[in-house]
Symmetry: C2
Subunit: 481 residues, 2 copies
């Protein structure tokens, strides 16, 4: 589909690639794909870098969203305000085709909730209900505690689970440069613990908050939901209290009282917010950039995902303000209901099904407002043919963009809101950031705008704008299966 193009003689290139082949994945053994960019794009990129890095607008926008609207769970009035805020902002930026596309979302409500230790002594525990959890009824649940470390430990104590409150005390590994965060591995108990324990007759499930750093900080997040899931209450306790309960349960019986009003209200109308700069040559070909407007119902949703929303809005604003003319359309999509339903992502895929064959990439920023380090890419969820080539193409594009420290390409990682698009072959991308502290704040009252560094936020805007512009200008397209 693409032809090779480079300054080096063929033999030298082949030799180098053969050498590299000893330590690279199979797709890297192929000759590097050509990604020749139009002449003059260097100057355009330079203007984007300068505009993005010198602007104070990203932080001002994020602060406005966080302070004047605050957190914005699907089904809340605040999310409706955030939709209006985004529409007004994109209009004010002079964008084209600004619109709110209706999405019906489920409206999960936390209500009052508390967890009390009754035995061996009376003490309130720090907890937060998991999104989409059932409630306990007004009387609450009083039961003995069973603490397990993981699935095998639960199976070993399967006979004891019936009638108990089961706590999964599974530690998340701290972030490291080599391993990244331990989130992907530890989060399975938050999402699936309800099913595991419920099937054994547990009356409620608790999970250790999914984080490696806690100041007695409870972390919420979605728990698995659906007709097949036992309708028991599920909540997170803090790392501190999970460990204490584990220690106390080793000494003798621990009894707890859990009360959660959690329930679903009637579905509400929400919306995805869209805006564009139309392509001058191929307006029908689309580069999607976006984040999600909703957040959990604690903190301010600053890193998750106010930062992604602002990355996308500001990237489009800067490209327009500089008067740059992309060949393809660059579209901002601010999805709704990412956190506990993906209704916005599904609605977008459905409403824009006719455009997906011509959607050259969908890039979500949902890894916080930290310094950008690269891109994740997933070409399909199931078929990996062609993924290798797209990865190599993307790596070359990043090399040409040449933003310092923004160079990783991570296959198999895409934003959650792009997942319904993958099925149709759209390459799903995600802006990767320095992940050292993301899960300190994730889904907590501490995800507030003061945790976002203005310069790092602007670097993310620069990265997203640059990638979007290059994908819109490049004559080629990321390879599909």
């Amino acid at each position: 589909m693409t032809h090779r193009n480079g300054p080096n003689p063929l033999m030298i290139q082949l030799f180098c690639w053969c050498l590299l082949g000893l330590c690279l994945p199979p797709w890297a053994l192929a000759a590097p794909p050509a990604v020749a960019l139009p002449q003059g794009i260097d100057l355009d990129l330079q203007r984007i870098h300068t505009a993005a890095l010198q602007s104070p607008r990203g932080m001002a926008r994020l602060t406005e969203l966080c302070d004047t609207i605050g957190h914005r769970l699907a089904g809340s009035v605040a999310l409706e305000q955030a939709v209006l805020w985004a529409v007004a902002g994109l209009h004010a930026d002079g964008q084209t085709n600004v619109r709110a596309e209706p999405v019906q979302v489920r409206a999960w409500k936390r209500g009052n909730e508390s967890l009390q230790m009754l035995q061996p002594r009376s003490m309130p525990l720090t907890m937060i209900g998991l999104g989409n959890s059932s409630g306990t009824g007004p009387q609450g649940i009083t039961a003995q505690l069973l603490v397990v470390s993981d699935e095998a430990d639960l199976q070993a104590h399967a006979a004891e689970a019936k009638g108990k409150i089961v706590l999964f005390d599974n530690a998340m590994a701290p972030w490291s440069r080599e391993q990244g965060s331990g989130y992907g591995k530890a989060v399975r108990f938050r999402s699936g613990g309800r099913v595991l324990a419920g099937k054994l007759g547990a009356v409620a499930v608790l999970v250790r908050s999914v984080t490696a750093h806690s100041l007695n900080t409870p972390h919420t997040g979605a728990t698995q939901d659906g007709p097949e899931v036992p309708a028991i209450a599920a909540a997170a306790v803090t790392v501190e209290h999970a460990q204490m309960l584990h220690r106390l349960a080793a000494l003798g019986p621990v009894r707890l009282h859990l009360t959660m009003d959690a329930h679903f209200d009637a579905d509400r109308n929400s919306a995805n917010v869209l805006a564009e700069i139309q392509g001058y040559e191929h307006p029908e070909e689309i580069v999607v950039i976006g984040g999600h407007l909703d957040s959990w119902d604690v903190g301010q949703g600053a890193h998750d995902d106010g930062a992604g929303v602002v990355h996308a809005m500001e990237a489009l604003r800067i490209i327009r303000q500089l008067g740059l003319k992309p060949r393809r359309t660059i579209r901002v999509v601010l999805w709704t209901n990412e956190e506990n339903g993906l209704a916005g992502a599904r609605a977008y895929a459905l409403a824009h099904a006719h455009e997906l064959a011509n959607t050259v990439a969908a890039i979500e920023s949902d890894a916080g407002g930290f310094s950008p380090v690269g891109l994740g890419i997933e070409v399909t969820e199931t078929v990996r043919d062609g993924q290798g080539l797209a990865v190599a193409q993307l790596q070359r594009l990043l090399n040409l963009i040449a933003i310092p420290q923004f160079s990783e390409v991570n296959p198999g990682q895409a934003g959650a809101d792009t997942s319904p698009l993958l099925k149709t072959g759209v390459p799903g991308l995600e802006l990767l950031t320095d992940g050292a502290h993301y899960f300190d704040y994730h889904h907590t009252a501490a995800d507030t705008v003061d945790k976002v560094d203005p310069q790092q936020l602007q670097r993310g805007i620069d990265a997203l704008a640059s990638v979007a512009y290059v994908l819109a200008q490049w004559p080629g397209r990321l390879s599909r299966p």
Copy 2:
């Protein structure tokens, strides 16, 4: 009082000290004081080091206190349990003269409390009442907010303070190796802000939590109290919410509703807990080591000051268990009510007034269970004559003990519970620790036992036991004015 003693010829020493004099404080210009220790003490110290560093008892003791009793504010049932726990533990260790000496303490109760933003939007704010604060009455207080950065800013807006809730949004500098923590400077608004704002007619006072690291973590602590202090409610908000309120107040009026049930119940009986190894040669001369049994009414009081309590109990246990015979008496004192009254410290000074002339040092461990780095020392609060010599003596003793990284001597720093002793000339000492994270947890729900590293805790026990033993064996005494 002491004579010089050293392997180097006089002239070389004098020359070296003159050179050093260019960059050292005045007391260092004097010849180094002799602190010759009895023969064989090296072996004793080696046995202390080995026993302390290999024991798991410190962590087990601290965990028992924290998990089974928990936090223990003066006037609480939990503090009474802690007194009994300490007495039983010291008896079990085989200590001499184990006793609980009665102390009457004021019983401040937090009760229910909450802070709500009403304007520009409705949202609950994360707060914690300050110890010894007045309450608001059952109706609470609704008032407009005035945010100031410091005293000068308050004076500049003095005319606006009447009828307002005043927030001191003063940032604490983060810890650095050079500067230490910014706590000493920033805490003045927590202790004194109530007086500053109350005198101008403020109806309540809020302070930014005194910490440089927050996950929306509220920090309590004592606010100034007494007949001359305006009886208005005082609370801390989190760093995040202080900053948000500051930003919002710059945009327009902010109205808050504060409710605090805070009040004093009738005084309660509490106790200082004491135990000893009696000196074989000078039983009447005493080295005091201790920490405070009480804590704030959140978290577990693990670093503050469960660690200090365990440092002292374990230090004495190890010295006894090794069969070491100190010339002087080593006495553990576990003070009560350090946090919001110092009633235990005053009671100890009064009950033991006849012994203070022969109290050669009083060492408090109240800087957490982190790695020990040295000792603070203050010889009197007012008269500094002789302090220099005591500092130099202590530095020599530390050099002879030679525990790695345990070498700092910091003049002018002593444990709060030793302060009533200073007036009588007793040298007050404090175990200094690595302070990088102490104020992350201080006075919060996050001060829990999982924050204490077992090895670091044992190193603190080693340091305290070694210093106590050396001060008990050294024929000399730290110089007094």
